[in-house]
Symmetry: C2
């Protein structure tokens, strides 16, 4: 039976993440969008949703979605920008999914782009702090890393972890990233280097944090198995990637009005909803990309998505769980930590990576023949959580 | 037959537009959202889409949608912000429509909010200029009013209109606004006052332009006639308002790469698409709210939506066409000119006004028993056009 209203991802494109001082957001997005269209056998998107956080502040440019549509040869199509802080990409995907699912468009592109090196670095830090509460947090001097440091310190104190215990996250991410051609930091590191790296906000040191970088990624969605199979036939691909579940949840922006600082409540809610929509449980997940903007958010994601009990993720991780060959395999891309974190594009990178892993085409460390892949993208400290469940069909 | 997948607007709420130096965006939005929920008999929205342009620059606050959801008692629900410059409200409605139509949520709130008096006025002018192209226009000194002035001057020169000819637009808008309790400028004016008002960017003088103001508006969408009728019964309302057509189109951001400066191409495209989706033509439109950020954009909208031939709108308008009692009746709210233009909220004000006119409940100048109402909201100089067609059912 041909399913007429299922949604499929038929094309993906990414740029290498880096400090592209000599390239504009338009140029980066054009590269990603062109690659995605080529990957989808040349289909023309009928609508475009853009995930981006900082263009208003760092590029002094609103109207971003129309600008990028025009620059990519798509002038005229419906287009808008979605902002959900660092979760803008995942939220844009959620919005794009609804456009294609609702029938407003049959072929929808969702792109993420971020140009963080547009201003001086103090401006970038200030722009990123807008993920936090301007009145209750930033006004009093909090930086975004500072707030994550509070959570990390509390977690380590409560569960008895040292900085070295936590450092196995960045260690593994750097190792994976060495073979990812899109990664910003394709460099191995050592426990010693991580621990001795300069402090950013105790207990977070430089190598515990994701880097500042520019990048763009795009994916193309179509509605209907017939259309998806038509694309596959045209380009000789035997794998279909279906969007089996999407969910978006929110929490307070300020940490002070939450009841539990060590649970990403929106990730708990959104992952449950997305699993239910997909008809799966955490046990069925073969491959996972989580939002490790800092090691702490990576560990919390594993716990809050049902892969570890609270307080145990760093221990399991250090023992080798979630590595290549385990189930689920996690962040073989190198994660935000080493693949990079071009904020509003990150959620789209994760989804593109999941698609390529399901197809067996990821150009870095390859997952072990996964059937179900999940991406978790958060904004703020899980003020937003966007969960996307993808499934392989043949 | 009960239509299960039609979409209805069951609640609307607005704040009075003004220079609310002593109120925050959160406070304004809370008022609008609470009113909309009350107007919808207390239904609880399951998702929230926010239209806003300038929060990143003037409030230094991203994560706006989650912040507003939380502050309105809706913590946890899916929420994201849509940016499409001055068309953010209309684009947010388009996104919200797709969420409810796709089945991702059954009850969706779409809100618009803008706090333009947050910074000093030079910052506001700079923030609004982000609707234009940062590299090709603003870098060279263009303000957003300056760009509209170029279009107005060309139009007046080509079709032989004087400033007095054009001034009948603001004249009528100010008259209507006197009885709109939500209007920022509920004050009559005169042709002489308009013509003698201080220059902003020739040929646009102060009274030819919409004012700077703060405001918030919200509407609540539900899917299914059954659900809509249930709300109506609960609150004793005998009119259903159905969303019959939505469309969003884009154009280049910079004017320099367009072929025709005097046609809002995205408005032509989006209105055709929305009429087609609704199964109507321009002749069927009883009531119309258009985006008269400047008199010129109001006149162009009438021409490009099929209500006047190119170059004739100001002549027809001066003769009394489009006034109360004509078909269509246009901007009985007072329009952006006098009701006000809280940028990202404007598109939601227009839709809320259309809903109240269809119900016969608008608290200002009331339309003559309309059946079909259309809202046109643009971003930039129609870089974005969002068209919404609403129909009355009993």
């Amino acid at each position: 039976m041909i399913m007429a209203d299922k949604v499929y991802i038929v094309g993906v494109g990414m740029t290498k993440i880096g400090r592209w001082y000599n390239r504009s957001a338009k140029d980066l997005f054009y590269e990603a969008m062109s690659k995605a269209i080529e990957d989808a056998g040349g289909v023309k998107p009928q609508a475009l949703v853009i995930g981006n956080m900082t263009s208003s502040v760092l590029m002094e440019q609103d109207s971003l979605a129309a600008l990028l549509a025009d620059h990519s040869g798509l002038r005229g199509i419906p287009a808008f920008k979605v902002e959900a802080a660092c979760g803008s990409g995942g939220a844009a995907f959620y919005a794009g999914y609804s456009l294609v699912k609702s029938g407003l468009a049959d072929i929808v592109a969702v792109g993420g782009v971020e140009k963080l090196t547009e201003g001086i670095s103090s401006e970038t830090t200030k722009a990123l702090a807008q993920a936090a509460d301007a009145e209750y947090e930033v006004f009093y001097g909090a930086s975004f890393t500072g707030l994550n440091a509070l959570v990390a310190r509390y977690y380590m104190s409560k569960y008895g972890y040292t900085r070295e215990d936590m450092a196995y996250w960045p260690l593994r991410m750097h190792e994976y990233a060495t073979s990812n051609p899109y990664a910003q930091l394709p460099k191995k590191t050592s426990l010693e280097a991580i621990i001795k790296s300069p402090v950013v906000a105790e207990p977070l040191h430089l190598f515990d944090c994701s880097p500042i970088g520019d990048g763009a990624a795009a994916v193309i969605l179509v509605r209907g198995e017939g259309k998806a199979r038509e694309v596959s036939r045209r380009i000789g691909r035997d794998v279909l990637v279906e969007v089996r579940g999407v969910a978006l949840s929110t929490d307070s922006v300020d940490l002070g009005s939450r009841t539990d600082l060590l649970t990403l409540t929106s990730t708990v809610d959104a992952s449950r909803q997305a699993y239910r929509m997909a008809g799966i449980t955490a046990k069925d997940v073969d491959y996972l990309e989580v939002h490790d903007a800092f090691h702490i958010t990576g560990y919390l994601a594993l716990e809050d998505m049902g892969f570890a009990t609270k307080g145990e993720a760093p221990k399991l991780w250090k023992e080798g769980r979630f590595a290549k060959g385990d189930k689920p395999e996690v962040n073989l891309s190198g994660g935000l930590k080493a693949r990079g974190h071009p904020v509003g594009a990150t959620g789209i990178y994760q989804i593109a990576e999941c698609v390529l892993q399901l197809r067996g085409e990821f150009p870095g460390v390859r997952a072990s023949d996964p059937t179900i892949a999940v991406a978790q993208n958060i904004g703020g400290i899980a003020t937003y959580s966007a969960i996307t469940v993808l499934g392989r069909a043949r």
